[in-house]
């Protein structure tokens, strides 16, 4: 009986140690990720920043926003138009858009760009009614990628309102589980760098190396938007229109519920604009192209509130607003939200020639 009690006590102690160490380990790992390796939590931002660091000089223009800016801005075309200005060295742009991005992620990326010395002359910041709604459509992504412990007092309400509570809890309590794919990827990259890989050239017959990977990467921009968007192969124009219509009704309508331009995205946007004013960086707020089904979801009330908010912001921070929502015909979209990356060239050329290059003069 006494021996049984001893075993029982020892088991409880061992299990308590295991639970305590596990929880403590997760908390410490979470703090390390939050403050030492924040880009491990936000790998697409890391790729953008790596790209910026590989540029020979600070960019003339930085595009900040979501995948809609990512697919809409053709970096090669933008650089070509800027090269026509004849400036030496030719000014260059960086497409710093990230998937599921809004003003919160834009502020994060922009702050890190400035820290790395990539201070642009101009920042083009994507805005849209849905991304400025009080209930942020991307709060689940922010909970995983950006929000830290110190955001609990200020953001908890937004997180719960956006139904991101479970993900936020998981990313706080089990950070090594939440970010395991990126952690493993970075560990593998570390091992590969460390190992003399004599067999690398002979391996992986399925992978095809581009002729000049650096040049290809530079032409495409920081992220491979073709791979991110994963367009269906060869949809007919009718199929595309139908996908846009269904997408607008299913996604955009939900995002615009209880519309009020406020909340975390609006706070971040205004903080970003204030920073730009301090740094002397010109800002253009760009309402990116939206297909007609998408635009049809903007009721007069939504549109009025959105424009009213922007009028105030433009006046307060001395920036410019460009409404390009109807610049691209419907057949150029892959779904309700995105222009096909190959169709971004015409939009980019028009934006650069009609808006940005004149502004930069």
């Amino acid at each position: 009986m006494r021996r049984r009690a001893t075993f029982s006590r020892r088991s409880r102690t061992a299990l308590a140690w295991a639970a305590g160490l596990f929880v403590a380990g997760q908390l410490v790992a979470g703090l390390v990720l939050d403050y030492v390796f924040p880009l491990t939590r936000f790998p697409s931002a890391g790729q953008v920043l790596d790209y910026a660091a590989s540029e020979p000089s600070p960019p003339a223009v930085v595009f900040l926003g979501s995948s809609r800016t990512g697919t809409g801005i053709d970096v090669a075309e933008a650089n070509r138009v800027l090269a026509e200005t004849g400036r030496q060295p030719p000014p260059r742009v960086i497409n710093a858009a990230v998937p599921a991005g809004d003003a919160l992620s834009a502020e994060f990326v922009f702050t890190h760009l400035l820290e790395k010395g990539a201070k642009p002359a101009w920042a083009v910041v994507e805005v849209s009614p849905e991304a400025l709604n009080v209930r942020s459509p991307f709060m689940k992504e922010h909970a995983v990628r950006q929000l830290n412990w110190e955001d609990v007092p200020t953001r908890l309400g937004d997180i719960l309102r956006s139904q991101a509570g479970w993900l936020y809890l998981e990313s706080r309590m089990l950070p090594v589980y939440t970010h395991r794919r990126q952690l493993v990827r970075e560990a593998k990259d570390g091992v590969r760098r460390w190992l003399p890989d004599r067999a690398a050239a002979k391996t992986a017959p399925a992978t095809k190396a581009p002729a000049d990977p650096v040049a290809d990467k530079k032409a495409a921009g920081a992220l491979d938007w073709d791979a991110i968007i994963r367009a269906r192969p060869n949809p007919t124009p009718d199929e595309r229109l139908e996908m846009s219509r269904i997408g607008a009704q299913m996604v955009v309508r939900r995002w615009l519920r209880d519309y009020r331009p406020a909340g975390p995205a609006a706070v971040s946007l205004e903080r970003l604009l204030a920073r730009c004013r301090v740094e002397g960086i010109g800002v253009m707020l760009l309402a990116v192209p939206a297909c007609s089904a998408h635009r049809a979801e903007y009721t007069p009330e939504v549109e009025g509130a959105f424009r009213g908010y922007l009028d105030r912001v433009v006046a307060e921070y001395g920036c410019r607003f460009v409404d390009a929502r109807d610049w691209v015909p419907d057949e150029m979209y892959v779904d309700a939200l995105h222009i096909l990356p190959e169709n971004g060239k015409a939009f980019t050329e028009r934006l650069m020639r009609e808006v940005l290059v004149p502004s930069m003069r």
């Binding site: 102690t13 299990l15 160490l21 380990g25 890989d197 067999a199 391996t203 992986a204 399925a206």
Partner: protein, 470 residues
């Protein structure tokens, strides 16, 4: 209504188990606990496909009633007919789902080769999860009742729990009625050391699965997908890697199942005992998938005559047993040839004189057995017999081709080393009580580290266990 498939490594399952475990121990009465556990097990199974629960209920109902009838019937002929009915129904269902498509396809190929065209369209195989395992459990129950080795259970709930108990339902171990049914009857008391043992076993299994098996699989899968493109070194590494992968995957699953059962107060039979330290093919089958080996011995090999009919008859019986054991794994020629290969190995072993099992020769026996088992794994893993031939030819005659990248090769070698050393260390443990002699903080650190590492390496969505396909 159902949250999706319940792999032991997914958050779905963790949520399910947390509720099942908490309610189970909160219920005061033993009968209520059994009802709850049976209902939870049925829910667990229905999360994979709700309709297949009907199949289990139908087949096991027949076995339940046949067993009750066997108690009452005294005529030997009638008793034989009753057992034959139960076995035929069970094997009929298994054959219908598992082998009908394969048999039809083989018949079509043979008739096509003979120049005829069979006027039947091919059918698509659709395998209910765990059918191979619960069919064998049901057969062993009826046969044991017939033999008088076990008593027929009166309460259908007890029998339902024997079949449905979720830790062993989908991939074993194959539980015997004499091992499990007495545990069902015994009231349970929560016991901290047993709970700790269960947690440790579960974590050990999770570690084997996530940290070793799934990582090795990522490294070697490309080789088995296109073996003709790879050179001799890559083929050897892939085969060694697969030996480790299948062991860690299946024994990892078994450890998790045993651990879960322990936390609920049940003990399932162990399925592995350092199989890669076996010194002969027969020794290997005493250590690998032990519950299947014993089932095949008791319900197939011995009824066939075992070793009672002289050396030749013994070898034939061994061959037939292993051939059918291979077929049990799947409706594919690779499994049949794999079973036949092990049958031949066991038969050849009978021809070797006794002196060869001297302890001094044991390391040589272990090395040769490991190599022979690895050659067998080629047949087991290859997608076709032609692929198996390509791999085996590439292993024994040097061929040039792509190699595994340095990090992947290193990963495979490290995992092979860790697995073999782990098996050797496992043999040194003399007593299960040794677990509790480890200082509590050390045990705590080991558990926390294993869980953390496993969580980091868990694949997104969970990778299915290899034996789920059988």
């Amino acid at each position: 209504m159902f949250p999706g498939r319940m792999l032991f490594t997914t958050s779905n399952f963790f949520g399910f188990f947390a509720v099942a475990f908490a309610v189970y121990w909160l219920l005061g009465r033993h009968r209520w606990r059994l009802v709850w556990l049976t209902a939870a097990s049925a829910f667990f199974y229905m999360c994979w496909n709700p309709w297949f629960i009907l199949l289990i209920l139908a087949s096991t109902s027949i076995d339940y009633f046949v067993a009750l009838r066997l108690v009452r019937v005294t005529s030997p002929v009638a008793r034989k007919w009753l057992v034959a009915l139960s076995v035929t129904v069970n094997l009929g269902i298994l054959a219908g789902f598992k082998y009908a498509a394969f048999a039809l396809e083989t018949t079509r190929e043979v008739t096509h080769w003979l120049g005829w065209t069979l006027p039947v369209e091919p059918i698509k195989a659709f395998l209910p999860l765990g059918i191979s395992f619960y069919t064998f459990e049901a057969i062993s129950y009826v046969v044991d009742v017939y033999r008088g080795k076990t008593r027929a259970v009166r309460n259908p709930l007890d029998y339902a729990l024997y079949i449905l108990f979720f830790p062993h339902l989908v991939a074993g171990p194959i539980v015997r009625p004499n091992d499990f049914l007495p545990q069902v009857a015994r009231p349970k008391r929560f016991d901290w050391p047993r709970f700790q043992a269960g947690v440790q076993l579960f974590l050990l299994g999770l570690f084997k699965k996530a940290v070793i098996a799934d990582q090795v699989a990522l490294a070697i899968d490309p080789v088995f997908a296109e073996p003709a493109k790879f050179g001799t070194a890559a083929l050897w590494l892939a085969v060694l890697g697969y030996a480790v992968q299948i062991y860690c995957d299946f024994s990892g699953y078994t450890d998790m199942a045993l651990g879960l059962a322990h936390t609920l107060g049940f003990k399932l039979p162990n399925n592995f005992n350092a199989p890669y330290l076996a010194a002969s093919p027969a020794d290997f089958w005493r250590r690998w998938h032990i519950s299947l080996s014993r089932w095949l011995r008791d319900y197939l090999y011995i009824p066939l005559g075992g070793n009672r009919g002289g050396p030749v008859r013994t070898m034939v019986n061994l061959f037939i047993t292993m051939l059918l054991g291979g077929l049990w794994h799947g409706a594919n020629w690779t499994f049949i040839v794999w079973g036949a290969y092990h049958g031949v190995l066991l038969a050849i072993q009978r021809l070797i004189p006794k002196g060869w099992d001297h302890p001094a020769l044991r390391p040589i026996g272990m090395f040769v057995t490991f190599l022979l088992v690895c050659f067998g794994w080629v047949l087991f893993r290859a997608q076709t017999l032609a692929d198996a031939r390509t791999i085996l030819r590439g292993m024994v005659t040097p061929v040039t081709g792509a190699e595994l990248a340095g990090d992947r090769a290193l990963l495979v070698l490290v995992c092979v080393f860790v697995t073999l050393v782990g098996q050797a260390l496992g043999q040194l443990r003399r007593s299960p009580r040794a677990l509790f002699r480890v200082p509590a903080p050390v045990a705590g650190v080991a558990m926390a580290a294993a869980l953390t590492l496993a969580l980091v390496l868990l694949p997104a969505g969970g990778r299915v266990f290899i034996y789920f396909q059988f």
